[in-house]
Symmetry: C2
Subunit: 399 residues, 2 copies
Amino acid sequence: MTTPRERLHDHLQAFCDDTEAFIAGAVDGPLAGLTFAAKDIFDVAGYVTGGGNPDWKATHPAATRTAWAVQVLVDAGATMVGKTITDEITRGILGENPHDGTPINPRAPGRVPGGSSSGSAAAVAGGLVDFALGSDTGGSVRVPASFCGLYGLRPTHGRMPLDGLLMQAPSYDTIGWFARDATLFARVGAVLLQSQVVPARPARLVIAEDTFELADAAVAQALRPWVERLAACIGSSTTVRLAPEGLAAWSEQQQVLQGCEAWDTARDWIDQVNPRFSFEVTERYLQARAFTAADIAAAQARRDAIRQRLDTLLADGAVLCLPTTPFPALRRGERLSLRREPRARISMLTCLGGTTGRPQITLPLAEVDGLPVGLSLLGARGADEVLLALARELSVPSP
Amino acid sequence: MTTPRERLHDHLQAFCDDTEAFIAGAVDGPLAGLTFAAKDIFDVAGYVTGGGNPDWKATHPAATRTAWAVQVLVDAGATMVGKTITDEITRGILGENPHDGTPINPRAPGRVPGGSSSGSAAAVAGGLVDFALGSDTGGSVRVPASFCGLYGLRPTHGRMPLDGLLMQAPSYDTIGWFARDATLFARVGAVLLQSQVVPARPARLVIAEDTFELADAAVAQALRPWVERLAACIGSSTTVRLAPEGLAAWSEQQQVLQGCEAWDTARDWIDQVNPRFSFEVTERYLQARAFTAADIAAAQARRDAIRQRLDTLLADGAVLCLPTTPFPALRRGERLSLRREPRARISMLTCLGGTTGRPQITLPLAEVDGLPVGLSLLGARGADEVLLALARELSVPSP
């Protein structure tokens, strides 16, 4: 039997090579004829979900049911051709996995693919599949989409059933997906959201000035024309400073709250198995274990204030515009001490989606020195379709 | 080419299966005709020293020289037949290695072999070799010797050159060895210590009452007749309470000081490689990273006091008698939360050797429910030979 890597000519090391999971799509349906991949945190009946960690895989039984999201896509006609590499237990944002290998970023070889949905992003960017499922807890769809030059959505939290998903932090976990073009991206979205994507425009564009200041100057500059085009398209825009306290303070509360939830999710398994993790992953779990009740209370208060602030700023159904990541993909294999600051800076942008539960789409609109970087739109809770429609409209070349 | 496991019929998983390191012994010499194994932290020219961790192995070149201790044994006629499994980077006391596998304890299958010199102890206990080299920083020879029913020595700190050894914490690192009988144990010792082991008796036996109280009652009871026999053999004995502050306070200072040294040794490599460790190993590194200057100063003061206390108690060249471990080998695969207390209790005994730099021999004299447990003698600095001679004398059946 051929491995998924052989079958798909996977030169990107995007697919897990130790599972034969494959499900032929239904004969007809809105996605008939398309192929997709699923991050190896989605259950497929009969296979062990690996979660990017050999000890997770060795200590869990084969799934008895297929994850809701996979099944709904298969029922819509798409064929699931394999499982893709993920950061260990989704605990990473760069896409480097020492156990299973780090997928190649086809748009930036030598750079990380972004994570944790690294293999899904690489597989789509490299044309191995038409689209792919990922998940986004703290940025795991948005970051690889930005780094690999793809469309990616973190949907409204709670919008889709998470049955059959390896969970990290339930208050933050979402299912997302990737595609190379906005039209297909919206077609997949219609199936996953069980909805329709009809042309729609938000009331107003709100440009978060401090998020652009946080980005590298070259990134802000590369995104600027697209912000202007968006503003023109929507017809109304304002510029604001989001975080008087600074975006660092905004992201810290999510490090605390998401971290504590992730620790709660994993602690019993860790205690039982003493699993192997890369140093950085254990470090993050232990950091969370050390948070005090006072840390948590302060983080909760900050989270509530951020939610309130965004609710006020976007009360009229406006969408917020920000860089998806402050820079394009980092180099692979960077030292831990040189990764800390960039990782923190990424979180200052990605925390907006996780903290508010609002949908966020990233659009592969810009490049810096040939490296992709995404522009994000954060919408109204439940109005994921508006973001998909807007992306599709923007992708049509302007007259 | 056969692997060491095939060649030696290694049913114990004691040998590393990924190195062919083998050095025929000199034709004659005091150890001619004997075979030995070396823990995979000893360099053998032409091979990468694995250190029990795949990322260590992958990021280090082949050794260009053979470790001093290996060479001196080979020159004395012994043949090195292979490298043995070690806890990752010697950071463990139980002998469980998730990467390379956990050696079987031939004297207690289903129980851990003890570590970090796990494979060396298992190979000797299982009769695969005549003797084996290990290392002892915090107990890594003494504990597996106790758990596997072997003679083992932690020599006087600084007594042997450590060239070609993967270091953990230089103020504590020593080379040790294992054998099944006291006569061979002393023969090997004469070569490694470059000395002679002539009959000798210490001035007095000092029985450390609180160390026996720390042990399981069954262990204390099983060792008692041997303590009495030792006392009779030496001809003079006294009973003392070592640690008015409690042995927990005594061992904590070594956790701090050894931990900080181990972190200093590894930190740059960790920063560069982000290596995979079992959760517990990273936890220990991070615990050390968090110690403050005040923690360190307090630990140093305590260390000095312990050294002074032992120097006073043993001023006449007396040897201190204590259980090597408070209990026989633990079950394999125990939960982290259930290992913490036993690990801490082991340290309360093993810290005496590391803290004072004195030589400590463990003698495989007792059993509890069929499981071996060792009796230890802590001697005078530089008088390692006295311990070897005493062990040899005791092992002769009494008339």
